[in-house]
Symmetry: C2
Subunit: 375 residues, 2 copies
């Protein structure tokens, strides 16, 4: 057995769809495109496909590099590759950028074919359900009738769960990592503060800032700084930064005194220079709105009555954004339906971000579950 | 015994100080004033004085009303009054607005006597230590050599602790409620996001917005919305708001869908219309900077070696901003110094805000401790 390695140099592809897509909001996208990447080879009977659903700020570039000099491999490169837990010697892996995204798929940044201008504020508010429907069409376009597995962390885990609800015959396994069956009031509250920071930025211009030659960077920066607090645990922050002072003493002002501040500003600045604010708004709304039990008077077990997939559900002890208790709600509802469920609560210090980390225990759990899948 | 009642109609007073106050930053306030209120009567030997230290957005109006029609009594009116846990039949209670505040004491909003203009950005960054020194002078001005008790919650609790360090002979009892010996990295992070929201508001103008006829309301609103998330527990938010929809259905946009959003916007708007952004910056910095163990290589027990007061330390189980563990750090350091300490960890659902609530168990603990104090 060779050592785990990278999927190597990859390139994004684009799939165009001309059959209108009806959205949960009532809006219709008459045409759209999805940018995606694939790793590994689709086998003859097309039974080895695994789709990766991304979280709030993720995209289609899940593994590999764009060229030899590329220093930033895909966001889940530690998990996916030849010999890695999600082994591309066995599986054909698909990553995509969701509708409403800002990395190449149809979204606020892309051109509205009806006007030949950026969609901007007029791009619809998309939901987890809409994403899953568009992902199923992407699978269709690749000739894939059934996924060996759907995999996602955080908001991606919600998409994985929704696949099993919307397309019970089309997905044999669902790996739902660091996720929840819906957001708590506190989760919604954090999203709302982030959105208000963006929307009240004077350079937001109702979402049509592209036409004004400006970007609501201030608001997006605040949103990202706040996000980072919730991705890390209190303990992880304490261990990494604590009360460490950048210059050994405080300066009695409002510039950076603490390392913690420096880290947050750096993360906020970086993100505000890369990500689209309109996409951020839509990703947080998709999180807020996902609630499969809503139409069942809050009964998640009833909402999952038609699900057929097998499940691996993973949570992390220090994740206070999507706490283990929320994963256990999913597990209970699946067990109520007598489904096959493996559940792991991984002891991890990193908080919500743990799902992206190469923790050995976590990766072994993923590896073992995926190894059992027949293709 | 008559039923607990209000201290009645109260009026604020102002104390002027002309002896220069040296600040921890190295700055000097050549003169300043403090606005304060008192409830009850100072006894003949001036042994019954209790000073109340306010938290981030608090002020001198701790109890009573300004007129019969006043619908908003002081912020700790449920605790203080004739027959209440802090009984004004027994104690002479003093509340003040701290230096740097925006409710009448010298601060960014007040006039700098050297320029006859608002201090604005030039008002110094004040610390908990500075506040306590100014509070001691206020006690001097009232002829009070020793306080029967110093009382504070949250940032107010830090001041109470600092009194016992700086003036061990001048305070017989300290009531330190929902507080901490310093902020964690996560606490600092939340403060930093709030400050950055204010400072990057285009109407902040480096803190001299008064001269521009504008206010950085957007930033202050975001800061307050974020603050409110941290004052409540996840469970309390869940119980109060959960995923309740304002209109029974979502609207696929970014206006208010959830009751939680409506609450946060209301709180943010209200605060942004009332509070001064420069004061908010200074209050959060005072929180960040307080760390009595800093000069003792992190050894809190050593930092408290000269303390003589008796203590009541109270924490609340659902307070994740200043968790019970932080109060226990204080208790341990006090016990290391063989001081008399009562500690209560109150089961409460409200999170950090619990210290302001009229919880019966909590108030009984306060009542019993205060009843034992001889005056």
């Amino acid at each position: 057995m060779s050592l785990p390695s990278s999927v190597g140099i990859v390139a994004a592809k684009t799939a165009h769809f001309t059959e209108p897509l009806s959205l949960k909001s009532g809006d219709v996208l008459s045409q759209y495109h999805l940018v995606y990447e694939t790793y590994g080879k689709l086998n003859a009977d097309k039974s080895n496909a695994v789709m990766i659903c991304h979280a709030l700020s993720g995209n289609h570039h899940v593994a590999g590099k764009y060229d030899e000099a590329d220093k930033n491999p895909g966001w889940w490169d530690n998990l996916i590759g030849p010999g890695k837990p999600l082994d591309t010697n066995k599986f054909f892996v698909i990553g995509l950028n969701n509708l409403g995204g800002c990395h190449g798929s149809s979204g606020p940044l892309s051109t509205n074919p009806a006007t030949d201008k950026p969609w901007g504020a007029s791009f619809p508010v998309v939901t987890v359900e809409d994403w899953v429907n568009s992902q199923a069409r992407l699978a269709d376009s690749l000739g894939i009738k059934q996924l060996a597995a759907i995999v996602g962390g955080s908001l991606g885990g919600m998409q994985a769960l929704q696949w099993t609800i919307a397309y019970p015959e089309r997905v044999r396994n669902a790996l739902v990592i660091a996720s929840a069956p819906n957001l708590t009031a506190q989760n919604i509250a954090f999203n709302e503060v982030a959105r208000q920071a963006i929307i009240t930025d004077p350079e937001f211009h109702g979402g049509d800032y592209y036409n004004h030659g400006v970007l609501p960077r201030r608001g997006l920066r605040i949103a990202r700084m706040l996000g980072h607090i919730t991705y890390l645990s209190d303990d992880a922050m304490g261990a990494k930064f604590g009360r460490k002072l950048r210059d050994g003493h405080v300066k009695y002002g409002f510039d950076v005194d603490f390392e913690m501040e420096s880290y947050l500003r750096y993360q906020g600045d970086k993100f505000a220079g890369e990500f689209d604010a309109n996409t951020y708004l839509r990703m947080t709304r998709a999180l807020d709105y996902f609630d499969p039990a809503f139409d069942y008077q809050g009964d998640l077990s009833a909402a999952l009555a038609k699900v057929k997939s097998d499940f691996l559900v993973v949570s992390f002890t220090s994740d206070w954004r999507f706490s283990p208790g929320r994963s256990r709600e999913i597990v209970k509802a699946l067990l109520d339906n007598e489904l096959s469920v493996s559940y792991a609560e991984v002891t991890a210090a990193h908080g919500h971000d743990a799902f992206l980390m190469p923790d050995e225990h976590y990766h072994n759990i993923m590896r073992q579950y995926l190894a059992k899948i027949e293709v």
